[in-house]
Structure formats: structure tokens, C-alpha cells
Amino acid sequence: AQSVTQPDIHITVSEGASLELRCNYSYGATPYLFWYVQSPGQGLQLLLKYFSGDTLVQGIKGFEAEFKRSQSSFNLRKPSVHWSDAAEYFCATRNTGFQKLVFGTGTRLLVSP
């Protein structure tokens, strides 16, 4: 079954610095991949998604992600982090048997002044 792994539980980044959150997927064919963000006590907001085509995907709030088949990765990036980006970030993949999302365990982003 498809799965995604987020190896970093917590990441701290200084405000204004660049950010990269890691996500590795497990699936032989091209997976459907998503990045969501969750602010404390809130639901999930879709940042971006990848199904096919251009491997560099642009999302909302200045985020982008790059699909790399050779590395089985779909890392999320942002060139300059703002304090409001502090949240939990989830990578997810869609199970091909049914349209259900399978999530990674999440990475909590802390932004230091």
C-alpha cells in the first residue's frame, strides 16, 4: 500500500531563512501527492498537490514542492519563512484502491525571531 514518511518531527527555522520539509513516498508508479498545513486547533488547508506533469509544483502562501522520482521524494520548500508559517505540515498520498488520503506523521515547524 502507498505510504509517505516524514522523517523530521520538529524543525526550527529563523524568520527569513529558507525552509525545506522532507517527505518520502512508497509507491512504484507515479503517486498522487499532497502537502497540507494545520494551524493549532484548526483543520487542514491544502498547500499544493502533484498528480503528473511538471515536477515543480507551486502552491499557496509562497510554498513549492518538487517531485523527484529518483529519490522517491516530494519535499516542501519556501525561500523565506514568516512567523505565521509556524504550524504542523502533513504530506499525504492518495490510495489508488479508493480515494482516501494516507498521511505522514507530520512535521511541526517552529519559527524563531
Binding site: G43, L44, F90, Q99
Partner: protein
């Protein structure tokens, strides 16, 4: 526009009491509906999903049940809550490849 409503936002219930969480979707027809749970410090676990009225699939055995009495209504229930049922419950819907999540219900069982 397509929206999803989930309530209540916060709920504190004693052990052994019943539970009913409701989720409704607007602006779409025949969506796939999902209930996820997020326990403290853990990721999101799919509990139930539904492809149509009265069609419910359970992902994990547990103390909860789900029902879909109408096309755009999804209900999560329990007859007797356990302490381990505490968590953040999220409803979601999808049509084609898009997934939209509700704002969640924080359930604390005391």
C-alpha cells in the same frame, strides 16, 4: 461554492456517555466522505469513509460508528465513550482528486 461544516468545535464528555458529531457538505453532489482522528502528538488516522448514502467502510476496529443518512451528511457516533476516544476529529470530502477538510472537533473524554 463548496463548503464543509463540522460541529461542535469543542466537546467535553464523560466516560460512558454517547457521542454524535455531525458533518455536512454544501455545493457538491455525491462526494466521498471521510472521518479522520488525530490523537495528541500523532498523525491523522482514517476512521471511516463513505462512497454513498448508507455505505460505510471502517478502517480500524474501535468504539465508534459512522452513518450517512443523506448524500451530504456524515455522522460519527459512539454509544459509550472511552478515555481513548479523546482526540481531534476531522471530517473531509472529496470529488475527483480534491479533498477538503472541516475545521475539526476537539473531543475530550473525562
Amino acid at each position: 461554492s463548496q463548503t464543509i461544516h463540522q460541529w461542535p468545535a469543542t466537546l467535553v464528555q464523560p466516560v460512558g456517555s454517547p457521542l454524535s458529531l455531525e458533518c455536512t457538505v454544501e455545493g457538491t453532489s455525491n462526494p466521498n466522505l471521510y472521518w479522520y482522528r488525530q490523537a495528541a502528538g500523532r498523525g491523522l488516522q482514517l476512521l471511516f469513509y463513505s462512497v454513498g448514502i448508507g455505505q460505510i467502510s471502517s478502517e480500524v476496529p474501535q468504539n465508534l460508528s459512522a452513518s450517512r443518512p443523506q448524500d451530504r451528511q456524515f455522522i460519527l457516533s459512539s454509544k459509550k465513550l472511552l478515555l481513548s476516544d479523546s482526540g481531534f476529529y476531522l471530517c473531509a470530502w472529496s470529488v475527483d482528486y480534491g479533498y477538503t477538510f472541516g475545521s475539526g472537533t476537539r473531543l475530550t473524554v473525562v
